[in-house]
């Protein structure tokens, strides 16, 4: 493959030297290490020297971490690809056209999308492993895997943090968004490809930071990093704040890039009312990110300063409840950041699978936008136990209001399926499961929004069940639908329908086996954040854990199936689903240049009343 390069260089390449270099990732690690050692030493031994202090102190590790991340990004390729040209130098950064391109800085949105997909998959597997450890611990009513509660709580925190910030917020946006959106809107690149190339490399850095946080010490706050609780913790919380900062920065950059891409890089004729649903989803979710991520980043920075300086923002001298308010101000929109892309996917896939026009398209979009708007008005429903009765009412009201625009997404999906010849294949199955699961998550959400119920169920496993139904049931199932649906796009190959369905049913059974019982467990009085619990809850916990392992294996099974079919699956044509959206009007997998020439959009992508294409100059095969 990389011979393409030398062919194209033709005669010149004969007298051109092939420079040997360290693999960029390895160089990044090396530069990160050097950066850390220099800055950490300077801070702890020179500028902030205190006799007999350990070599690594909270301030030194913080600044050392900053240097390490900068070193990592530059080493991975931002130096040649971004900085040198910025200062007017020449870029000698060649990305070979083989597997190597996924392990270095690149500006191709398809490569970046893939890198994001791998990163969040890595996060999913790591955090999933943590979940397995937690379920293992909860099989018995006393401590037997972890030797102290702090270790269990750190694991819960790592699980939640990595899941939320590297899977929930990233998988469908940074991953599929980067890959699919430019293809969908008929563009050959994103708006800020260089920035995008950098943002991806923050994800592995962020995951590694959070996962390695126990090296600095335990932390007991869960994925919320609550102050002033965190102020009681050992220094592990520092790596929580830093890791999450890296991950959120990455998401922020993705959002800026996708917003600009959708606004400015659409193909001619792709007017506002023709923007594909998934692109709409990406646009709304990007706006959500742009509003809320800076807010939470400031909160985390304040938490960090409280931990390293220390400043008394959230202690008795400051205002202890403020952190909670600030966290949930972001925390609730975060759930919609996770689930809006899933809504968009339902509406993207169902018309294709049913070969029927999207039902009430405007209402689908209005639903997305109103979910986005209302999401900022409900945060205090996470704090009903901390407030006066009179304050509960508005938050309860707005929370239950959200079920209306959410309902639009369901109605659009159901209306589209109505009387269509729905192909009941693996992606459809996953979408249907996602609809089903999210319905349960949504209904129990309305319940929890009711203060009377909430005050009973607060911080029990009922809540755990509710949000896993929305996140796994809604988002992760749709994520799998996306994997199966776009697999032919990525690889030109098709998965195996039989094993695909087995995989879907497998995780569906595993998932409902775990999380439906968690509702009951919660109602029976099982608190969250405890590795030790009353023994009457033990039989049920034991059984749930078995389902938990089944679920974990099911996820792994699906990934193995996809990975296998990626390489060995039967080759299919460019548009196996007979979809009208643009990403299928080019070759599968797309050539380096997506569209040549850029297509002209003349119709609706979701109108399946005839077989006419929505583009005037569809893809011509001349380039690849």
């Amino acid at each position: 493959m990389s011979s393409v390069v030398s062919d194209m260089q033709g005669a010149r390449s004969a007298h051109m030297k092939v420079k040997r270099m360290l693999p960029p990732v390895v160089r990044g690690l090396l530069w990160a290490l050097i950066g850390f050692l220099i800055v950490n030493t300077l801070v702890s031994e020179v500028f902030d020297r205190m006799p007999y202090h350990p070599y690594v102190t909270r301030p030194s590790v913080t600044l050392g971490w900053v240097a390490a991340v900068i070193g990592w990004l530059l080493g991975v390729g931002a130096w040649e690809g971004f900085m040198k040209p910025y200062f007017g130098g020449t870029a000698d950064w060649v990305v070979p056209n083989d597997w190597r391109k996924y392990f270095m800085y690149s500006i191709d949105h398809k490569v970046i999308g893939m890198q994001y997909i791998f990163s969040s998959l890595g996060g999913f597997l790591i955090a999933g492993f943590a979940a397995m450890l937690m379920r293992l611990e909860l099989m018995k009513d006393h401590m037997w895997i972890f030797n102290n509660p702090g270790a269990y709580l750190s694991t819960v925190g790592i699980h939640g943090t990595v899941m939320m910030f590297s899977v929930g917020t990233v998988a469908l946006i940074g991953g599929f968004g980067n890959y699919i959106v430019p293809l969908m809107i008929g563009a050959n690149s994103t708006a800020y490809p260089r920035m995008s190339g950098i943002s991806q490399w923050l994800v592995p850095a962020g995951i590694a930071t959070v996962v390695l946080s126990p090296i600095l010490g335990q932390w007991t706050t869960g994925w919320r990093g609550y102050e002033p609780l965190a102020g009681q913790d050992p220094a592990g919380i520092v790596f929580y704040y830093l890791g999450v900062f890296a991950l959120t920065t990455s998401s922020l950059m993705v959002s800026i890039n996708l917003t600009a891409t959708i606004l400015f890089k659409r193909a001619p004729g792709l007017t506002w009312n023709r923007i594909p649903m998934y692109a709409w989803g990406m646009l709304t979710v990007s706006l959500l990110n742009l509003i809320w991520l800076p807010e939470i980043q400031m909160t985390f920075l304040m938490g960090l300063l409280s931990a390293i300086i220390p400043l008394p923002y959230f202690s008795q001298l400051g205002s202890p409840l403020t952190y909670m308010e600030m966290f949930w101000l972001f925390g609730h929109p975060e759930v919609y950041i996770i689930v809006v892309p899933a809504f968009a996917l339902w509406q993207e896939l169902l018309p294709v699978m049913g070969q029927k026009s999207l039902f009430a398209r405007q209402w689908g979009i209005i639903g997305l936008v109103f979910v986005m708007i209302l999401s900022g008005l409900v945060w205090a429903h996470h704090m009903f136990t901390n407030m006066r009765n009179s304050q509960m009412l508005p938050f309860s009201f707005f929370t239950e209001m959200i079920s209306i625009p959410t309902g639009f997404s369901f109605l659009v999906a159901i209306g589209t399926m109505w009387k269509s010849n729905l192909r009941l294949n693996t992606p459809t199955l996953f979408i249907l499961m996602s609809l089903f699961n999210f319905l349960i998550g949504g209904v129990t959400g309305v319940l929890l929004a009711d203060p009377v119920v909430n005050l009973q169920a607060h911080d029990t496993f009922f809540v755990i069940a509710h949000f896993h139904y929305t996140i796994i049931g809604g988002m992760v199932f749709s994520w799998f639908a996306a994997f199966y649906y776009w697999l032919p796009k990525f690889s030109g190959r098709m998965y195996n329908e039989f094993w695909g369905k087995i995989g879907a049913i497998w995780v569906f059974i595993g998932f409902n086996g775990v999380f439906f019982q968690l509702f009951l467990l919660g109602l029976k009085g099982m608190n969250r954040w405890v590795p030790v619990y009353p023994s009457y809850l033990q039989p049920m916990n034991f059984e749930i854990s078995l389902f938990g392992f089944l679920l974990g294996l099911g996820f792994v099974f699906n990934f193995l199936h996809i990975a296998w079919m990626w390489h060995k699956g039967p080759v299919v044509g460019n548009n196996p689903w007979h979809s009208k959206t643009l990403e299928w009007q080019t070759s599968s997998p797309p050539a380096n240049t997506n569209f040549d020439p850029i297509p002209q959009v003349i119709g609706s992508f979701y109108d399946y009343s005839d077989s006419k294409l929505a583009v005037a100059t569809p893809y011509s095969d001349k380039k690849s």
């Binding site: 030398s6 130098g89 870029a91 702090g150």
Partner: protein, 211 residues
């Protein structure tokens, strides 16, 4: 303006750059293993390091810093007959900590299983010790130590092993001649029902026989 070259338009590249699989996968594997090792085996690795490299007996003033939840250093070496001042300082800004030295555990049964409350054998039993520079001491339990006080006497308490419990920012100096009790000793903080100890707030002392 110069641009980043993706392979397809590699024609304007200044020079080709190649990198090898071996270094790539080799390094990643090594980094992964190091990561797992430090994540799960931190205390174990520290122990090995300290047993290997920190064998020289410490004399004179020996500083022990208390953090949340660990000591710095985590290993001490003394020789019987050495004259030592143990300068303990609590560096935490939030937590009370103690430093108990002993061997074995006394436990109490609880619903959660037996929980160690203190050491079975108290290092300070019968040891003459001079206590000085005590600031912000929550309480000091002497047990069977033979104490002399220099300066103001800290708040005293009874019950359990010899242990100074130090408030955030507090400190205490214990001056003594290492008694004839050679062997391996543990030190730790039993504050909050042994939680500090379990979370890593412990260390070891090797006492070498007299020369």
């Amino acid at each position: 303006m110069s641009k980043v070259i993706d392979s397809h338009n590699g024609a304007d590249s200044v020079g080709r750059r190649e990198w090898g699989k071996g270094v790539f996968f080799g390094t990643l594997t090594v980094v992964l293993l190091i990561g797992i090792a430090v994540l799960f085996g931190r205390y174990w690795l520290e122990g090995i390091y300290q047993r290997t490299f920190e064998k020289t007996p410490m004399q004179g003033t020996v500083h022990v810093f208390q953090f949340d939840y660990y000591y710095e250093p985590r290993h001490l070496t003394w020789r019987v007959g050495d004259h030592v001042t143990l300068a303990i300082r609590n560096m935490s800004s939030t937590h009370w900590h103690e430093m108990v030295i002993g061997q074995g555990f006394d436990t109490v049964p609880t619903t959660f299983g037996p929980i160690p409350t203190q050491f079975k054998r108290d290092f300070w039993d019968g040891v003459p010790v001079t206590i000085s520079d005590a600031t912000h001491i929550d309480n000091l339990v002497l047990n069977h130590a033979k104490a002399t006080f220099v300066g103001p006497k800290p708040n005293m308490a009874t019950g359990g092993d010899f242990s100074p419990t130090i408030q955030p920012g507090g400190s205490i100096n214990l001056t003594f001649t290492v008694p004839n009790k050679p062997g391996n000793w543990d030190y730790g903080c039993f504050v909050q029902q042994y939680m500090h100890y379990m979370a890593g707030m412990n260390g070891t002392i090797t006492i070498l026989p007299a020369k």
